[in-house]
């Protein structure tokens, strides 16, 4: 089967500042692929490349077997949808009107919504459990409801592949789990599973939702595979600079990351624990700390 994205030697950057280097990756259809990595590692930039906001500076990037540069904007928007990190809430729109804007690539310039449009909007509202709120102004929604409305807009776009840039930021844990479970079970009207590529920060949620994890560091892909294959103590130290143990969830068997502290360059696993908050009241110790640390840095 043609992969959703076939990426070979891809370079991406802003102006002459390269951010993503020589990335090779296949993203299969019907899978949830989650990009993880430390801040500034290039995962959002890679997503910008996949959504054609950045032109490849080198290498090839194919969507459904065709070079992304050969697609027209509307055609691409019908095939690949994007939910950016911080979309703007326009004034005076109801939830239904907002979701209907997702039909933009399917609609003529004017013209009433077609039955297809209505069906897609109704389905998106239903999947995101927003049908009862359809007539509410978007400004009045809570953070969780608002994020569901954006997801509904992306769903209504009817693209086979959905790109989501940190869809759970600003949500509490329960809403994060709720949203990701919904995304994981998403099916298109024809019964096939949706192809989702998401950037997520919360590793345990990523492990829970992802079929495949892609770990990035310094603009390169460090590891790809199932959550079990990728989330290992060695990789967490390399990618996040995080000292952590990986346990297994007794329910479902997902790997669970248990952070122990910040990994240091060349550190051994039995390094003493870093100061924790309870040390802070011990004020006289504070001035001493920098001088003690000083020789180590030099």
């Amino acid at each position: 089967m043609t992969p959703a994205f076939r990426i070979r030697g891809l370079d991406l950057g802003y102006g002459d500042r390269p951010v993503v280097h020589e990335v090779d990756l296949d993203v299969a259809h019907g899978c949830t692929t989650v990009l993880i990595g430390a801040n500034g590692c290039g995962k959002s930039t890679l997503l910008k490349g996949l959504s054609r906001q950045l032109r490849p500076a080198g290498g090839t990037l194919e969507a459904d077997g065709r070079d992304v540069r050969s697609w027209s904007s509307r055609e691409y928007a019908r095939s690949v949808s994007l939910l950016p990190q911080s979309p703007v809430v326009p004034e005076g729109l109801t939830v239904a009107e907002l979701v209907e804007r997702g039909r933009h690539p399917h609609r003529r310039w004017w013209g009433a919504p077609s039955p297809d449009d209505d069906a897609a909007v109704a389905r998106a509202l239903e999947l995101t459990e927003l049908t009862a709120l359809a007539a509410r102004p978007v400004e009045e929604l809570s953070g969780g409801q608002r994020q569901r409305a954006w997801i509904a807009l992306t769903l209504a776009q009817g693209a086979r592949t959905m790109l989501l840039d940190e869809p759970t930021s600003f949500l509490d844990l329960a809403h994060q789990v709720d949203l990701l479970d919904m995304l994981h079970g998403l099916e298109h009207p024809d019964g096939t599973r949706a192809t989702v590529v998401a950037v997520l920060h919360e590793l345990n949620l990523a492990a829970r939702v992802a079929d495949r994890l892609v770990a990035m560091a310094d603009g390169r892909i460090v590891a790809t595979g199932t959550p079990h294959e990728v989330l290992t103590p060695a990789l967490l130290a390399e990618v996040f600079g995080l000292r952590a143990d990986v346990a297994h969830d007794p329910v479902g068997g997902h790997p669970v990351v248990l952070p122990r502290g910040r990994a240091r360059e060349g550190s051994s696993p039995d390094l003493p624990d870093l100061p924790v908050l309870s040390d802070l009241p011990d004020l006289p110790a504070v001035p001493a700390a920098p001088s003690a640390a000083e020789p180590a840095r030099r």
């Binding site: 102006g15 959504s51 054609r52 906001q53 027209s72 904007s73 509307r74 055609e75 691409y76 928007a77 019908r78 690949v80 949808s81 994007l82 939910l83 950016p84 990190q85 911080s86 979309p87 703007v88 326009p90 004034e91 005076g92 729109l93 109801t94 239904a96 009107e97 907002l98 804007r101 997702g102 933009h104 690539p105 609609r107 310039w109 004017w110 009433a112 209505d118 049908t131 009862a132 709120l133 359809a134 007539a135 509410r136 102004p137 400004e139 009045e140 807009l153 776009q157 790109l163």
Partner: protein, 360 residues
């Protein structure tokens, strides 16, 4: 947030919003006809309605016969008064539509609900060009002022776009607003210094600088009308893109919108509209701000409808303002630039109050 009435949370009847908008459009058109009639029948001098009807009845035949100059010849004073009301009615319709649609386009492009042509320095550019033209080129004919105003708007637009791109990349709404403020201040300074330096310019400019729909004659109106039509069509053409852009540039791009093309379309339209309006009537503030904003408050944020209804309701505001200016202190008339603000401010305040109690 907690003051929602239960009715608003029930699921909507499909198509209800469309019907609502359709009837709003009908109502707006009826308002426009009423306002145009008021503008023709009412004035500082009271004229028998029968005379007005008679003059209007002769108009098509006379225009076909020998053009506008033939019409005004050899008429009684009442008929002449009615004749003077015809071009100003057309002017108010054109200028009102141009300003309101330009404001709608500007609010969409700059993603700023307070946007109007003044925000991006377009009116300041037009005014500066007219002043320089009056002072140094000896421009006086209406078409010369029209051309100057358009050229001034265009220069301001190019400057604003150029300055906003200095940092590299495509212009952002914030960048446009900032460079618009800078360019606007520059042109205003230029205008002030020209007016102060050459006293002769001051007299004529002072007259021009008060917005008025009485200066333009029918040939001027006819010359500018195609520009206004083109401008409205351009903004309308970009309005679907504006809907997507309202969700943020990234999402609009994801929805398949060519941001650069759509912005350029709307921006060129706005330049044409504000240049044309300024040329016909001088700078008239507030129509471009108030009308699209009011439409958005009443009908929601679909730019296609905002543009269409602005094109109908802008003329209504300007016509009513003109009529009020005529009948308030007869036989003196108050210029429409003043009465627009007097009428518009209370409307805006009411809308803002309503908006606050409903929206937040």
């Amino acid at each position: 947030m907690s003051t929602l009435s239960p009715a608003r949370t029930t699921s909507p009847v499909p198509g209800a919003a469309q019907r609502h908008r359709g009837s709003a459009l009908l109502g707006a058109v009826a308002l426009l006809l009423a306002a145009a009639a008021a503008s023709l029948f009412w004035g500082a001098r009271s004229v028998d309605p029968a005379t007005v009807l008679a003059v209007l009845g002769q108009l098509p035949a006379a225009l076909l016969d020998g053009g506008w100059s033939q019409v005004s010849a050899g008429l009684g004073i009442d008929a002449a008064v009615v004749h003077s009301r015809i071009p100003r009615t057309f002017t108010a319709v054109l200028v009102g539509a141009a300003l309101a649609v330009a404001g709608a386009g500007m609010q969409g492009v700059s993603r700023n609900p307070l946007g109007d042509p003044g925000l991006l320095g377009l009116t300041a550019g037009a005014a500066a060009a007219v002043v320089l033209g009056i002072g140094w080129l000896g421009a006086s004919a209406a078409w010369q002022l029209t051309a100057l105003a358009l050229a001034g708007s265009a220069v301001a637009a190019v400057l604003v776009f150029g300055v906003s791109r200095l940092g590299g990349g495509s212009p952002t709404p914030a960048g446009l607003a900032l460079s618009g403020a800078a360019v606007s201040a520059g042109f205003t300074a230029l205008t002030s210094s020209a007016v102060l330096a050459v006293p002769a310019v001051l007299d004529r400019f002072r007259f021009w600088n008060i917005g008025s729909v009485t200066r333009a004659d029918l040939p001027d109106v006819a010359a500018v009308a195609p520009l206004v039509l083109l401008g409205v069509l351009l903004v309308l053409g970009g309005s679907s893109g504006l809907n997507a852009m309202a969700l943020g540039d990234e999402l609009a791009h994801g929805l398949g919108v060519d941001l650069g093309l759509q912005r350029a379309l709307v921006f060129v339209g706005v330049v044409l509209l504000s240049g044309a309006a300024t040329a016909l009537a001088g700078p008239i503030a507030f129509v471009g701000l108030l009308v699209p904003h009011a439409v958005r408050r009443l009908l929601g944020g679909d730019y296609r409808w905002i543009v269409v209804l602005s094109a109908v309701l802008g003329p209504v505001l300007l016509l009513l303002a003109d009529v009020v200016g005529r009948v308030l202190t007869p036989p003196q008339e108050i210029h429409v630039g003043v009465t627009t603000v007097v009428l518009g401010v209370p409307v805006l305040l009411v809308l803002l109050r309503r908006g606050r109690s409903v929206g937040l």
